[in-house]
Amino acid sequence: MRDRSESFRAFEYAGFSAVAFVAALLCVCVGSVRIRAADALAVIWNSVWSLPLPEGVSGPIIMSVRLPRVLCVALSGASLSLCGAAMQGLLRNPLADGSTMGVSAGASLGAVIALAFGVTIPGLPFAGTMAMAMVSAFLSLLLILSLAYRLDRALSTNTILLIGVIFSMFAHSVISLISAFAGERVKTILFWTMGSLAGSTYVNVIVLLCALVVCGAAVLPRARELNAFAIGEDNARTVGVNVRRVKLVILIAVSALIGVCVSVGGTIGFVGLVMPHITRMLVGPNHRRLLPASMFGGAVFLMLTDLLARTIIRPLELPIGVVTSLIGSLVFIYIFAKTRTAR
């Protein structure tokens, strides 16, 4: 049997990057206006180095519409998938994820409250929405986990899922209530509940990138601790893991990252549930491989889904969150059925 070394080698990372690059290029080229790959690359290259753009190619479409969108989609996919993988390991629960646990719903509730009541931080547009989404994501995670813990000290799959679902329903009903009174702002609010990355800007790209770098720096080095949690929390404690601290750091990082993703793209459900699961089937449960592979997988998956969402019934565009939820809920049922019958 092939020796399964713990982490990936450089050439494997190069392979992942190549696949992600091809997917990104495909997404930049395909759309209402088709662009040749070579032209797209030339436009991007020349724009980066401030060279004159090649003739006959619609540069603005590439540079100010498609590229920022594709980058945002890739970063959101990587972030959500990383969050899902980390939560599934930490809680030893293959169904844990921002959307099944109610964290995404909590984040959108925060964003909607900020939008409807005009919570802003002076000088920084969107910062109020973003901060509210992050704080609200963390508070809902805290609420859900402490409620689950009170009902069931073992924090079993079913308890967490049940409370997550109930909390999601609660959050969504509050969102509906707010939108009923929101008047003109109802359209913006609808955006959060559906999830879309159309109209992404480079500011969004930078925000997502920073969030992914900061939170990734908190999560990725804790792959061994996540392995210990995935084996069992009691076992993690007895082999010397600082259980409380690791749990707190991971949960804060994950909810902050989910909060930022939601504040940029709305609720994009099930990416964080499905991608880590598929990745685990391919590379095994060891988080030193699972976490990086999930990030690449999530980025590629979401880029392709976004491509599908904006091309399948052209010229209309589906919200990406609707497409991922459609795919995701089916896979979710499959996973749930499979893990139940396995026992």
Partner: protein, 252 residues
């Protein structure tokens, strides 16, 4: 003294599970914690390993266990739990390697050649070399218990806490587990604290015993002095001695 437990108390929801339990553990000792169901045996292991909130003090090499860093504690104290279930399909080697966590430090120096050597050695010792790359989810209960025993060997603690390690296991596994622990104990500066249900096992392998009843220590000392006919009859509300003899005489 390797382990000193002073006035240990544990309560859940206002109900006292353990009250004022005191004992100590010297190198070379195998202390058997015995007592009927609900006496607080497993809770005792949980508290000593810092897994349950308690009052009183647990001293390891004279240092308060509460103030020790989890890594330092893990280097001194290893725990083998009663039952295991692993959430995902980790390989036996990955689970055993986790025993080296306290030594190898975190990222990026996540595993050294020494860790690999000790991991493979532990797998070998537990008779698991053939299962090295197999998913633990495909193993039987006895094999899984051996994987976690190997993890404790890899962890290389000085004090081993066993919580009914042979529960639900076949007799062969039971014998192998206890023999392996006994061999391990012969090395210098090692001590074992274990909870057992089977009093014959306690007599056969223990050097000392602690008899618990309703959360209180009724007797402690050399195993033969503690598991006396009178003391057992009182605690178990039956003639344990007579019952054991009757059971075993059937094999004559």
């Amino acid at each position: 003294m390797m382990l000193n437990v002073e006035y240990l108390g544990v309560s859940y929801g206002g109900k006292a599970i353990l009250r004022g339990v005191e004992f100590s553990l010297r190198a070379g000792q195998w202390l058997m914690v015995v007592g009927p169901n609900g006496a607080g045996k497993s809770t005792l292991i949980g508290a000593v390993s810092q897994g349950a909130p308690y009052t009183g003090r647990v001293l390891i090499d004279g240092k308060d266990a509460r103030r020790m860093r989890p890594r330092d504690l893990a280097k001194r104290v290893g725990v083998l739990a009663q039952q295991h279930s692993v959430g995902y399909g980790f390989t036996a080697e990955e689970v055993v390697r986790m025993g080296r966590y306290a030594y190898s430090g975190g990222w990026p120096r996540a595993s050294s050649a020494e860790d690999t050597a000790k991991t493979l050695d532990a797998l070998e010792q537990a008779g698991l070399a053939a299962f090295r790359r197999q998913s633990v989810q495909t193993l039987s209960g006895g094999e899984l218990q051996r994987v976690f025993l190997a993890q404790v060997w890899a962890q290389d603690p000085a004090i081993l806490l066993l919580d009914e390690p042979s529960n639900h296991l076949d007799l062969l596994y039971q014998q192998q587990t206890f023999d392996r622990v006994q061999t391990w104990l012969r090395q210098p500066n090692r001590a074992v604290l274990s909870v057992v249900h089977d009093l014959s096992l306690a007599l056969a392998y223990g050097t000392d015993a602690l008899l618990l009843d309703c959360g209180k220590a009724v007797a402690r000392g050399p195993v033969r002095d503690v598991l006396t006919r009178d003391a057992l009859s009182r605690v178990y509300n039956m003639d344990v001695h007579g019952w054991m003899r009757r059971m075993l005489s059937q094999w004559d």
